[in-house]
């Protein structure tokens, strides 16, 4: 009995991210869940992996960028308005470009 559990633990180990991402084929998913129902170490392991993903999703860097400088903002706004103008010019000339 113990040996069977061990083999299955290793087998499901590589499928766990796809399990968490709901990306496993139904049959593999069923097999995995059957294993989890009888293996508390794997349940704890899945919880720790799920916790890791959750920490990544909610990660906020302690470092944040400083305020955007005025010249940098102007640079971005210029680029944006130029691109808009180019688009409008193209639309006027019938979309053919030049």
């Amino acid at each position: 009995m113990a040996q069977k559990a061990d083999a299955n633990c290793a087998e499901i180990f590589e499928m766990l991210s796809r399990y968490l991402d709901l990306d496993l084929p139904p049959q593999a998913c069923r097999m995995l869940e059957e294993h989890l129902a009888g293996c508390s170490p794997c349940v704890a392991f899945v919880a720790s992996l799920r916790g890791t993903v959750e920490l990544c999703r909610h990660f906020k860097a302690s470092e944040m960028p400083g305020p955007l400088r005025d010249d940098a903002r102007r640079q971005l706004l210029d680029a944006y308005t130029k691109a808009l103008a180019a688009k409008t010019a193209r639309a006027r000339s019938g979309g053919s470009g030049f």
Binding site: R18, V53, S62, P65
Partner: protein, 209 residues
């Protein structure tokens, strides 16, 4: 900010409505900064990359036809900007992470797997611990070999899809999945070590009282 709102801002900007400009810039500037800061761990570089990326994005804004693509589009530019100015591997040498080395430690004779795992169940109620774990996480991400780090940054931290990540990194979707799993396992291990050391510290304190 959710993806839908972000797309709405892009849609309006594409249509020539300049009102969401500030919000759009602030939002993406923070995301790109976080992405590049975790890659290079240099504030100035991360700020430069954020500016460079936004500038490139706005310069070719007239080519963006589908606002739905705004996030992968921006992060493709950010990825290239990071590559361009990357200082030769300050941190991790390029190497493979094998599943074997990421298996949790076992106790016993191998007949049955006794895992050494911390208790992750009360994480949500411990803001201070979460903050500390955030620092462990940032260091652990920086230490990952490039090809694993780029996947976890895009998939789990920027929440791009498998397909979008594959496109940005120019690799197959199966490769994204394999690398993502290994990256998560590597981060899990670092976080678990931290939690276990906290657990031991608590237990030691309890013993004293």
């Amino acid at each position: 900010m959710d993806r839908q709102h972000e797309i709405e801002l892009a849609r309006r900007l594409i249509a020539g409505d300049m009102q969401p400009f500030e919000e759009f810039v602030e939002h993406f500037r923070a995301s790109i900064f976080q992405y590049s800061y975790l890659t290079c761990r240099q504030r100035e570089d991360a700020e430069d990359i954020a500016q460079e990326t936004l500038l490139k994005a706005f310069e070719s804004f007239d080519q963006l036809r589908e606002p739905e693509r705004i996030r992968p589009w921006i992060f493709r530019i950010a990825k290239n900007a990071c590559l361009m100015r990357r200082r030769k591997s300050i941190f991790a040498p390029e190497r493979e992470l094998s599943l074997d080395e990421l298996m949790p430690e076992r106790n016993g004779d191998g007949a049955h797997m006794q895992l050494q795992i911390a208790d992750w169940s009360n994480l949500p109620d411990a803001p201070l611990l979460r903050k500390e774990l955030g620092e462990v996480l940032a260091d652990a991400v920086a230490e990952l070999p490039d090809k694993y780090r780029s996947v976890i940054l895009l998939r789990d931290m920027q929440e791009l899809s498998t397909a979008e990540t594959a496109e940005i990194l120019e690799i197959g979707e199966d490769t994204v999945k394999t690398r993502l799993h290994r990256a998560r396992l590597a981060l899990r291990r670092k976080l678990d070590e931290k939690l276990r050391s906290e657990g031991t510290a608590n237990a030691a304190e309890d013993g004293k009282n």
